[in-house]
Amino acid sequence: MEYWNPKVERLSAEELKQLQERKLRRLVENAYEYSSFYKKRFAAAGVSPHDIRSLEDIQQLPFTHKTDLRDTYPTGMFSVPQSQIVRFHVSSGTTGVPTVVGYSANDIDVWTTCLARSLTACGLGRGDVVQVAYAYGLFTGGLGLHYGVEEIGAAVLPVGAGTTTRQISLMKDLGTTAIACTPSYLLHIGEVAESMSIDIASQTQLRAGILGAEPWSLESRKRIEQNLGIKAYDIYGTSEMSGPLFTECSAQNGIHAWADHFLIEIVDDYGGPVEEGEKGELVVTTLSKEALPLIRYKMGDITSLVWEECECGRTHPRIMRIQGRVDDMIVVRGVNVFPSQIESVLMQIPEVGDHFQIVVDRAGPMDVMAVKIEVTESTLSDRIGALMQLEERVAKQLRDVLMVNAKVELVERGTLPRSSGKSQKVIDLRQI
């Protein structure tokens, strides 16, 4: 088993928690002293740094949200003077004002170190060729992975958001062994390679995918691994945290969250702590970030956290599979539905293609949900009854899992959106 930093990665849970406690106290003191934003927030909540002595005391601190970053646009939550900033990233403002994140030199180092540990845990190192197919530029995916790959001494192939045929020819010609991109984009690469008569499993060196930036199910993972003959590792991290940071290890059983730099909490709907292993919303406190420290930042991702030592020997807690987003949840006829549940059902049905879209609308006073799936050549039958039966069978399996009716619609191949960023999987046409 290879570790990037065996000593740190295998500290006991007790040692990690002591370290977190020390760093939390210092973080809160610094935030109070250097950030007018946090000073005001703490005052409004009636807490002062002296109240924060143990890890449990963190519950006295108020949560922060994405709206705080927007409200203080561009740099109102920064805690260092401009002269210490060495980089900016900006998230796209698809839902409003963009959010700006800043990094000190040390912030970049910590980010890179976290990724070096993570990529090593994915079995990568010197001799590997890692194709970064995340966008470079304001998005954190491209540059983040780039630095991480260089740090472990592997070769980085910075294709970025290039054309897919180019991704494939370079992958083949330069012997790419791992690719970093979104899972839906890797599926798309697979489709395009097939149309170019290239079999990724047998005609390239590709053996690993570092996949994230959008939710994906275990069934999608299975499909990717089988179709492309690779191991597909989940990666987690958002621009607010720095960028992509944590991945699974070879055990592929949870994402190792480096606890010396990040304190992860899971909270219930009311903000209270859940039992270890229980599902809730992921809340992040950055223990090492200087430029833009986050204290109890609500990520909106629904998952659970496990502190049990992993079979790989790493002791840092694991973020289990992301099951959806608080804001992805759609309420259809009073029933909570997550796109990830739908994906999970669809990917278990071999006749269903790799892409889908959910359309929610209202017919009179009633919500109606349609799930669009593409017809593939292997599914296409000359008997229309067979296709209609497929629709019914998928609808039944969806109903069994979701407890709400979904109308299944077959659509032509290539007509549903494929994305290299976050997939547009849900269209809500309801006007309320």
């Binding site: 593409e374 017809v375 593939t376 050549e377 292997s378 296409l380 039958s381 000359d382 008997r383 229309i384 296709l387 209609m388 629709e391 619609e409 077959l410 659509v411 032509e412 191949r413 290539g414 007509t415």
Partner: protein, 145 residues
């Protein structure tokens, strides 16, 4: 022992959402590539349909339609030359029914040979149907030039 022939015809099945212009764009591609449609039929579910074609060059049609991103597949069907006279279809359907073979769908076109029609048949047991019809002395075509 009797030789069982495996004479079957290639049919193209194309998936199309039920919206204006889909038949037009598919047939435009065939037209631009000089492919002659001998017969076709549409089955629809309300929201989508499948269009089945018998053409003079099935392989080329598949290639061109695929390139234009249509979802297409190839199926084997029976192409049966039958006399264009009263009772001909009855004779065929009775033979199939007596042998417990179900007709899934069928369509027809007039043959280039005078007083002959070509019947396109899909059956629940295609091999059995081919064997039976050959035995009964029908002429099965393998291509439709």
């Amino acid at each position: 022992m009797r030789m069982v022939t495996n004479k079957m015809l290639k049919q193209i099945t194309l998936f199309a959402e039920n919206k204006p212009g889909r038949l037009a764009s598919a047939t435009k591609i065939l037209s631009e590539n000089g492919i002659n449609i001998r017969a076709f039929t549409i089955a629809d579910s309300g929201e989508f349909g499948i269009i089945r074609f018998v053409v003079d060059d099935a392989d080329a049609s598949l290639r061109h339609l695929r390139r234009a991103d249509f979802t297409v597949s190839e199926t084997k069907v029976i192409g049966l030359e039958m006399p264009d006279t009263p009772g001909a279809l009855w004779e065929i359907s009775r033979a199939l029914s007596d042998n417990d073979i179900n007709v899934d769908y069928a369509y027809a076109y007039a043959s280039a040979t005078p007083n002959k029609a070509i019947l396109i048949l899909q059956a629940s047991d295609l091999k059995k149907a081919v064997g039976l019809l050959t035995e009964l002395g029908f002429h099965l075509i393998e291509s439709s030039p």
